[in-house]
Symmetry: C2
Subunit: 185 residues, 2 copies
Amino acid sequence: MLWERPIRDLSITSIMNGTGLSRPAFYQYFSNVHNLVEQLLADLEVELVTAAMPWFTASGDSRAALRESLRGIIAVCVENGPVFRAISESAPLDARLEIAWAAFMGRWDAAVSDRIALEQKAGMIGPLDGSAISVALNRLDASTLVAEFGRRPQGDPKAVLGTLYHIWIKTLYTEPIAGFEGLDS
Amino acid sequence: MLWERPIRDLSITSIMNGTGLSRPAFYQYFSNVHNLVEQLLADLEVELVTAAMPWFTASGDSRAALRESLRGIIAVCVENGPVFRAISESAPLDARLEIAWAAFMGRWDAAVSDRIALEQKAGMIGPLDGSAISVALNRLDASTLVAEFGRRPQGDPKAVLGTLYHIWIKTLYTEPIAGFEGLDS
DNA sequence: GATTATACTGACACTTTGTCAGTACTGCTG
DNA sequence: CAGCAGTACTGACAAAGTGTCAGTATAATC
């Protein structure tokens, strides 16, 4: 249904109209619409984490692995974009869902941050605030994926991959540039 | 009010309770809550555009100007974070507001894209898809600003500046890295 | 001081939500 | 097969919020 209509039009009434069951039957399975969305998030996270494995477990060429991970994540979103969009757009509307979303993103932040720390130790990534950069890059990914694949017409997966890869690679794997380090105020 | 409660708790009823006026009086000025938010967006855009001027009009050191623009935008969000957050979170809930938000972001995308094209012509920025990169960087900024300054406790403006500046600079102003150009599939 | 526009209100109809008592159907057990 | 759970489901209700409208104050203008 999410392919057809935005989440804002999905009342319990309209959802149950499509099922042949009565509206109260909905409450047999979910406590409200946000709770339903919360379950969708749990399912989607499994798929995304699986798709993202390459970079997190890479031992050789971690740039190629990063590209592979991004490609996988994008593929999942090409398939489930509207679900991802519905989740991210619903999150601010419900306290519980907001917490679940924050936890979901927090796990990505931690995983990316750990990976960066690991590669920094190995000398593959230079000195940078891996924790803060992780949060930013993950938010970049989330908002890009939602915007590009959350509705039809979807964006071009290859183009999105190119863009995200560019930003990730440059951010993580390039030398510090002159005049950057130590700037403040 | 947005400092205290998230947008989801802001019904017309609760808004008007704070004013001493009756609920229908609200409709004297706005057609609904989303319309109110739409007006907030218009006001905020003016402030943000002003704050962002340095980079868009820079003639000398455009990296320093970029830093200045980011600092300005962050300063505006430190002051108006919850408003910005309310707007971005409400956008998916209303067709009109969604369009207004898309137009708002679209103007940033166009401005950044133009600036990149300009600096590419001047040889300051290398070959990259300025249009796609602009969209991504702007979404990065928006989601970061909302997350960091949209509620209390707010993030540290300096840290956020450092992170965003790092990503923007590396993305736009570093040399192409080996193995990046021409990768596809 | 009369007139006209503006600001505002009480009350109504409508929509959606969550709940609950109660019905129908299922499978199990003696 | 009768009786008894346990599950799946429903109709009806109360509560909360929305948008509208006829109508009343209040202020501004001539």
